[in-house]
Amino acid sequence: MATSLSAIIFYVTIVLGWPGFLPDVSDDLFQFFFNIFWIAVGIEIVVEIIWEKKKVQQDERDFRIEAIGNKFAYNFIVAVVVVVLVQLFLSGIFGSVNEIYSMFGEKKTLFHVLILALFTSSLIRRAIMIYHYRKDFI
């Protein structure tokens, strides 16, 4: 989850740039999320190694929770793709009269939206899974 979140923040900052009205702490922030990214990757590797040593790595409950997470992520991706397709259609009609609509129809914008949707769906999947794991112990 931390890796997905860091990747999203990295990507958004690289694509959109640092907002001008905020004090420029982009270098510090970059370093901060860069560290988080590598720490998260390290933790994920350690967790994988620990799981490998366990007798039962995943059982039916884990698969069920994973399936719920996948379902939410899939629904999100489908919703984004539908929005993108509608947007493409509308930008074809209104693009010539409205500048903002013509921007939404650009391949570059759609590419960024789809990449962000992929990262976000991964984040949603993890968040839903954590929620369901925690729910058992509340």
């Binding site: 366990k54 039962v56 995943q58 059982d59 039916e60 409950r61 729910k135 058992d136």
Partner: protein, 70 residues
């Protein structure tokens, strides 16, 4: 239609079978300890296969381990 709930006597049965730990039961039926914990707290309904395996460990018929309550 009102949804029912599956309850079970796993905790009692564990203690009646030599104070078996959750981990021991989990290893016998091939799931994680967390799943046994969730089952005992009635926060997870097992698959038929798992339910039969648990009943088999306690050498009891399924209906003496699990109950469906409307």
């Amino acid at each position: 239609m009102k949804e029912g709930q599956i309850s079970n006597n796993i905790r009692v049965l564990r203690f009646q079978h030599g104070e078996m730990t959750q981990q021991e039961l989990a290893d016998k039926v091939g799931v994680t300890r967390q799943t046994i914990n969730a089952l005992e707290a009635a926060k997870y309904s097992p698959s038929l296969e798992l339910a039969f395996k648990i009943a088999d460990v306690f050498e009891l018929p399924l209906e003496e381990v699990f109950k469906y309550e409307m």
